[in-house]
């Protein structure tokens, strides 16, 4: 997949990610009243097997959301277990978080981060995609991880709230069929 993208297309994709993740980080920073740092976006190609391997970390929570429209795929939000109480407190939850409050917090965070990431991304490309509500996902309860794509372009960025020792990763996986649409939209921005 790396060879599928020209250097200019990769640059454009990375910049689009920077911009949309910047919007997501700003949404989170305002919500928790603390600075959020962002990693440089990582853009790679993954197979379902590699995707499944990402889902075996026991130190994190996972949420999944799918999106449909001009481009389709799914968004995985990975949230560290450490720092959840601290983030919850900043967001006016009662701490320590009980089971229900923790679920609510995780889904709220996933919705803010993934929602801002995806909407920023598609708006800049003048494409539309509708994101479903997030659901918590427990890989250990699944025999196999079901995905409905054969290979994918994966874009990943990490958010850190240093004051709370909390971090989160948002992973956007595009279905193969959406990659062509994406490349065409990128080329329009590079004209």
């Amino acid at each position: 997949m790396n060879t599928l993208l020209s250097e200019d297309q990769r640059d454009a994709l990375q910049e689009l990610m920077n911009i949309s993740m910047g919007q997501a980080a700003n949404a989170l920073a305002r919500l928790v009243g603390a600075k959020v740092t962002l990693s440089i976006p990582r853009i790679v190609s993954v197979t379902p097997l590699q995707f499944a391997e990402m889902l075996n970390d026991t130190d994190v929570w996972y949420t999944r959301q799918s999106f449909l429209g001009h481009i389709r795929g799914e968004v995985l939000t990975v949230l560290s277990k450490t720092g959840c109480d601290s983030i919850g407190e900043l967001m006016d939850y009662e701490v320590p978080l009980d089971h229900d409050a923790l679920s609510e917090l995780l889904l709220e965070l996933a919705n803010i981060l993934a929602g801002a990431c995806l909407s920023g991304f598609t708006e800049q490309l003048a494409l539309n995609a509708k994101l479903s509500m997030p659901t918590l996902f427990f890989p250990e309860n699944q025999q196999t991880v079901h995905v409905h794509w054969a290979s994918t372009l994966m874009m990943e960025v990490e958010f850190k709230v240093e004051a709370s020792q909390f971090d989160s990763r948002v992973v956007i996986c595009l279905e193969d069929i959406a990659v062509d649409t994406l490349l065409q939209a990128l080329n329009r921005l590079l004209e």
Binding site: A12, Q14, E15, N18, G22, Q23, A25, K35, L189, E191
Partner: protein, 121 residues
Amino acid sequence: MPIPVTIADDSLMSRKAVKRALPPEWDVDITEACNGKEALLAVESGKAEVLFLDLTMPELDGFGVLKYLHEHHAKTIVIVISADIQPEAKRLVDSLGAFRFLHKPLQAEQLRETLFEVGLI
């Protein structure tokens, strides 16, 4: 006489976005810079009466450029165009004397208003 303008951004796409957003009637001579060091070189060689400046860049970032210009009392009009739009970035940029802090993706209308406020168009 065209006004010397420098666009400093490590992303080709974002430099193109700035060029596309410039008012067509504005007579400018554009220099492109891919990092902060190139931006300062452009300033020092008189190619940046106006500097459109990204914050996150290799070599020397936009904050470094602003700091240098601030310390050297440069007359360059700096308009920051950034993907980092958190309150802390804006505070720092303001304290370093940038004229305006615009968010990416850049809106042509907002850029026009900004240039109008400076009296450039």
